[in-house]
């Protein structure tokens, strides 16, 4: 029987879908049976980020409304044969699925997978309630911005009210230089307010933009720093004890030379 994680944040644009894709792909790379479920009906993205858009025939609404079998709608990944995606519908809206249907659907997925990762839509309404309905555990994604932290706090309150405990936090898009200069909230600042377990920190990384656009999760790119952060996160999810990523960037030869010339 697998574990069902919901990846949520409240605020949009902090990296829920990217996080879902990378955790899913990271777990699949470690040999786990993984299913990802996009619950952002009407604004689906996870298929694009995974590069599987052109393989969609049926979607989650077709499954719950009985137009196809679950196995028919599950798309097998092109890189890993142990990773599957159940895409959201694009032409319907959130009300096309009920919480009870989600619970039933996830109940049907659980026995066949080690991990089911649910990509939650932004907001706290119907779509959010659907996404958390069948989940066992929750991962909250936030970014070092006051508004994102505020929304994460709201979401954590709602999750606790729905009986979720042991919430885990991912802080995305940290810029070490700005934190150092005091222009960005630090990890400690955010943990002081949110007071939940830290699952990982992901540095702001240009390679995420390219990997997202290309449909190749950064976690599979050995040279990506964000990818390294996600590899650490997936190992922690599997119970390994991995230290947090060292945030200070390695200085290159040229920047060292520049400091040397300017500094003396």
């Amino acid at each position: 029987m697998g574990v069902v994680y919901v990846v949520t944040s409240g605020k949009g644009g902090v990296g829920k879908t990217t996080t879902t894709a990378n955790i899913g792909a990271g777990l699949a790379k470690m040999g786990k049976q993984v299913a990802m479920l996009d619950t952002d009906i009407g604004l689906r993205n996870l298929d694009v980020v995974l590069g599987l858009e052109n393989r969609i025939v049926y979607d989650v609404v077709d499954v719950v409304q009985g137009r196809c079998r679950l196995k028919q709608a599950l798309i097998r990944d092109k890189r890993f044969e142990n990773m599957y995606l159940l895409p959201a519908a694009q032409t319907k809206d959130k009300t096309a699925v009920t919480e009870a249907q989600m619970v039933e659907l996830i109940g049907a997925l659980k026995p066949d997978f080690d991990y089911v990762i649910i990509d939650c839509p932004a907001g706290i309404e119907h779509g959010f309630k659907n996404a958390i309905a069948g989940a066992d555990k929750a991962i909250v994604v936030t970014a070092p911005e006051v508004s994102a932290v505020r929304d994460a706090d709201r979401i954590i309150g709602l999750l606790e009210a729905h009986g979720f405990h042991d919430l885990q936090l991912i802080i995305n898009r940290i810029r070490p230089r700005m934190v150092e200069s005091g222009d960005m909230m630090s990890v400690d600042d955010m943990l002081e307010i949110l007071a939940v377990e830290l699952l990982g920190i992901v540095p702001d990384d240009d390679s995420i933009v390219t990997s997202t656009n290309r449909g190749e999760p950064a976690v599979l790119d050995a040279s990506s720093r964000a990818g390294q952060a996600y590899r650490n996160i997936t190992r922690r999810l599997c119970g390994e004890d991995v230290p947090l990523l060292e945030l200070t960037e390695k200085e290159g030869f040229f920047s060292r030379l520049k400091t040397l010339l300017a500094g003396r």
């Binding site: 505020r150 929304d151 706090d153 709201r154 954590i156 309150g157 709602l158 606790e160 009210a161 307010i193 007071a195």
Partner: protein
């Protein structure tokens, strides 16, 4: 989501948790919070409010008009404090000082003032 808290005494409610954004406590009497009050959380009390933690949200003490009501916190960094019919907020443009000492807000001559918390004998 309105939280009522458990009755500590006849006129005081105990909220033994951190109040997060969107959570609200309403009580006709006093409120004692064991935890933080985060930004976006709200407490409305007929009497006094005591927060054994950091107060960053909005608090209304003496909501029924009691001008003797006070707001006390181990660290008082509120978004807004209301006492009876007076509303006050931290001055604009100044980042919240990183103080961690008990302070109390009360009405003095119709204005909300914040003082160091001193145990009265």
């Amino acid at each position: 989501m309105v939280i009522t808290g458990e009755a500590l005494t006849e006129d005081t409610a105990l909220v033994a948790r951190t109040l997060r954004s969107g959570q609200k406590v309403r009580c006709a009497g006093n409120v004692l919070v064991l935890g933080d009050v985060n930004p976006g959380a709200e407490i409305i009390a007929g009497g006094c409010v005591v927060v054994l933690g950091t107060l960053r949200g909005v608090v209304h003490a003496g909501a029924g008009g009691d001008e003797a009501a006070t707001v006390t916190a181990l660290s008082l960094l509120p978004t807004q404090i209301r006492i009876a019919s007076r509303i006050t907020r931290p001055p604009d443009g100044q980042p919240a000082p990183d103080v961690y000492r008990p302070e109390v807000a009360r009405l003095k001559d119709g204005e909300v003032v914040i003082e160091k918390y001193v145990v009265s004998k």
